[in-house]
Structures are given as C-alpha cells and as structure tokens.
C-alpha cells in the first residue's frame, strides 16, 4: 500500500464528530493515521483540505480530502464495501437511515442548546431534548429492538446510527455531570438508555472515546467561560480543547 492510498484522519480529541470517523474506520478494519489538530493554530494541511469551513474532522484518502462527518461515513461505506455495512443495502431502508441520521443531528442541536441555556431556560430545553429522544426512539426501534432488547449491538454489526450516537455519549455523560441534569433518563427514554448502555460496553467504543474526566474538565471550562457549544456547526473549529490544555 503506497503513501497515497493510506487514510489519514485530522481531528481533535474531544470532537464527537471526529470520533464518528475513527469508529467507522475501526469497525471496517481500515488502518489509518490520526493527526491531532490544534484548532487555535490550525495546520496548513487542515486549511488546505477544508478551506470552506476550516473544521475537523477531515478524512484524507489517496491524498484527497473528504469533509463533514456524515459525508465521510457514506464515503467510507462506499469505498470499502466489504465487511460491516454502515448503511443498509435496500434503498427504502437506506432512506429511513438517512432520515434518522438527519434527525440525530437535530437532536444534538437541542442538546447544545440545553448546554448553552441560562439556568431559567434549562427546564424547557431539557424537555425538548427528551421529546426529541422519544421521537428518535420510536423511529429507530424497528432497526434495533427485537423483543425489547438491543441485541443487535455487537461490534461487527454497528451501523451509521450507532456511530453517530456513540460519538456523543461521553459528552452526554460529562454534560449531565456539569449541568446536574439527566439527559439520558431511563425512565423517560428507556430504549435510548438501553441502546446507549449496550454501545458503551463495547471494547471498540471504550477505546475510541475520550476519558470521562477529561470531557468533564473541558465542559466545565466551556460552561464557565460561556463559549457556545457547537453553535449550529457540524464540526469543531473552536479550539476549546487546546485552551484547556494550555490552562492545565
């Protein structure tokens, strides 16, 4: 395998969107090189590869850059078709997958809103998150919940929706700790809670996600300084992680 055909991921350790790409490549068994970007001092390569958004993650394959995590996931599935499929093969199932993938992104915007909310607005923001989780639950059940248990969740069967959710899991837990609220509440969203529980046990997930304490530290910093989390973008370009690194 020559230099050109290798895969390189440019990302940052706390970026859930970056985690999606790493996880997808690992599930497919594709070797890759990882480049940790300092978003307050972006590498010339990153600026060359993503001139429009200047964000992570970027996957570079055969010297060509692919940007935007969901687009990268589709690219990975198309380029390495053997092994685990990240999306179903049948067009109608694929359409449903893509519909719910887009919905997950919306859900994440609500979670970011919750995180950025003033104390007074937190209750309503949390309700919105739970409502969206309820809708998501109903929608994805048919893919997963055979006899009320997510027993599809094995390492070789993880798909795009699992990957999208799992990237944010550590962030969810850290956010819960920092905000003092329950985002994933087994009483409000039992299937989501059990789905996430199953995912988080998998070795491939455990080894990919950042340590909980690091996330908590970062999010506490973000909350204190009032920096807007995510800000409607679907990648990270704010260099929060490096701010934290420089202050510890």
């Amino acid at each position: 395998m020559g230099e050109e055909s290798k895969a390189v991921v440019h990302g940052t350790w706390a970026s859930a969107f970056t985690k999606r790409v790493e996880l997808a490549l690992k599930i497919k068994g594709i070797p890759f090189e990882y480049v940790e970007e300092n978003l307050r001092n972006k590498s010339p390569l990153l600026l060359k590869y993503n001139p429009v958004h200047k964000k992570v993650p970027v996957l570079v394959h055969n010297g060509k850059p692919i940007c935007e995590s969901v687009i990268i996931l589709e690219y990975i599935d198309e380029t390495w078709p053997s092994g685990t499929k990240l999306l179903p093969q049948e067009p109608y199932q694929r359409a449903k997958f893509r519909f719910w993938a887009a919905y997950i992104e919306q859900l994440l915007e609500s979670v970011a809103k919750l995180f950025n909310a003033e104390k007074a607005a937190q209750g309503k923001a949390l309700e919105e998150v739970h409502e969206k989780l309820r809708i998501l639950e109903d929608g994805v059940k048919e893919f997963y919940f055979v006899e009320k248990s997510p027993d599809h969740v094995h390492a070789e069967k993880l798909g795009m929706l699992d990957i999208m959710m799992v990237g944010h899991l550590v962030a969810f837990k850290a956010q819960e700790e920092v905000l003092g609220v329950k985002i994933i509440d087994p009483e409000k969203n039992p299937f989501i809670a059990s789905w996430i529980q199953a995912l988080i046990q998998l070795p491939i997930v455990k080894e990919t996600l950042p340590p909980h304490d690091n996330m908590v530290g970062l999010l506490q910093f973000v909350k204190q300084t009032g920096i807007k989390l995510m800000d409607k973008s679907r990648g990270h370009d704010r260099g929060l992680e490096s701010k934290l690194q420089s202050s510890t």
Binding site: P51, V52, H61, N62, Y75, E78, P91, R94, A102, K232
Partner: protein
C-alpha cells in the same frame, strides 16, 4: 398500486421542485398531490408525522420525507440519467456542496427575508459572501455545478436561480448582480433554459405575491 409514485407538494416550495425535476429528468411517471399547508391532509400527517412537511414521495405505498433523502432514494432506485457522480470522492464533493447550501445557504436566506439581526444591508452582505464562495469554489468555470449537464447540486442551488429574485424585489436589494457574480449569473440563465427546468418553474408573479403576504403577516405579528 404496485409501483406507483406519488408526490405530495406545495406550489411555492423549492424543496418540492427539486423532487419534481429529479423525477422528470429521469422520466419517472408520478401523481402530484397539492397540499394546503394551512389544512394538511390526513395522508400527509400519516406519511410525515415527524415534520408534517412537504415534499413527501410515496413509492409503492412507502413514504419518504425530507427532500435530500428523497433525492438520494430516487437516484438509487432509478440510476439512469444519474444526478450524482459515480466516483465516491466526486460524490462526497457533490454532497459537501449540497450540505453547504442546506446549512449556510438557508441561514443566509432567512436573514435576507426576515431581516437579519444587523439589518438588511448586513443580511445582503452575508448572502453575497455565501454566493461568492459558491461561485468560486463550487461552480468555478463550469457551465453547471454538475459539469456539462445539471446534477443534484444544481437542483439544490436552484433556489438562487428562481426564488431569490422575488425576494430581492421584496426586500429591495439586489444580491445576485451580474457585475459582482458573473459566473453565477450566467449559471442562472443556463439553468432556467434547460428544457425540463423551463417547463417546470413556479410563476414569478404568484411567488412574489406569496412572499409579500408571508412577510407582511409575520411583520405585523407582535414579537
């Protein structure tokens, strides 16, 4: 019933038109159902319970919502006259621009129409900056975003070919000026001259009327 294709739509919607064009470009027969969005049909609410919006494509009784999801579905089920490149990398680039139009484009449009936080001039500049990126990096020197023929990216950017004009009239600011955006301006002309597009466009006067009503309704509501 078996392979019937139905499209639930609303006449001013650019999202609906994307699907109409895709179906016609591929020569797919379909039934069109006009929805009154102030009085949505039972069917629409059943087919799209999450968003309750149009377009909804129904193929052999199975509903698909969200225009981008619909377009990818159409492309997969009817792969002739392709609307996306075959090469996975080229495909990812097309999807990138589609995403860009959907994210940044939509917020630029909203600011222009409703007046951004910093006023109309700011909104117009934001729109112009967005269009400059499109012209330089997505379109370049090509005739269409798809190259020599239109593809899905053109269908997504069609908003700027046909819907921006009534909005510019209404707001009183011209953003897509030939002197400032010459290549994009040329694209607008070429796009509207494509036979399938030409025969399937909303009436500009009716559109202006509709936008005028929408804007005055919203403006008169207390904040």
């Amino acid at each position: 019933m078996d392979n019937e294709v139905k499209l639930h739509g609303f006449w001013p919607s650019p999202f609906v038109y994307r699907v109409i064009w895709a179906l016609k470009l591929k020569g797919i027969e379909y039934d069109y159902i006009e929805e009154d969005l102030a009085n949505k049909s039972e069917l629409l609410l059943r087919y799209n319970p999450v968003y309750k919006k149009v377009p909804v494509l129904v193929h052999a009784g199975k509903p698909i919502s969200e225009s981008l999801v619909i377009l990818e579905y159409i492309e997969e089920v009817w792969p002739h006259n392709p609307l996306l490149p075959k090469d996975p990398y080229e495909r990812s680039v097309a999807r990138f621009w589609i995403n860009f139009a959907t994210d940044k484009g939509r917020s630029a449009v909203r600011s222009l129409f409703w007046g951004g936080e910093d006023g109309e001039k700011e909104a117009a500049e934001q729109m112009f900056n967005f269009l400059k990126i499109i012209e330089e990096q997505a379109l370049g020197d090509k005739k269409f975003f798809g190259g020599n023929s239109i593809n899905m990216v053109d269908l997504i950017f069609a908003w700027f070919a046909c819907w921006i004009q009534p909005m510019e009239q209404l707001v009183g600011i011209k953003v897509l000026e030939p002197s400032r955006l010459p290549r994009l301006h040329a694209w607008v002309k070429n796009f509207k001259e494509e036979p399938i597009i030409k025969e399937n466009l909303p009436d500009p006067e009716r559109l202006l009327e509709y936008y005028t009503r929408m804007r005055s309704n919203r403006m008169s509501k207390p904040n």
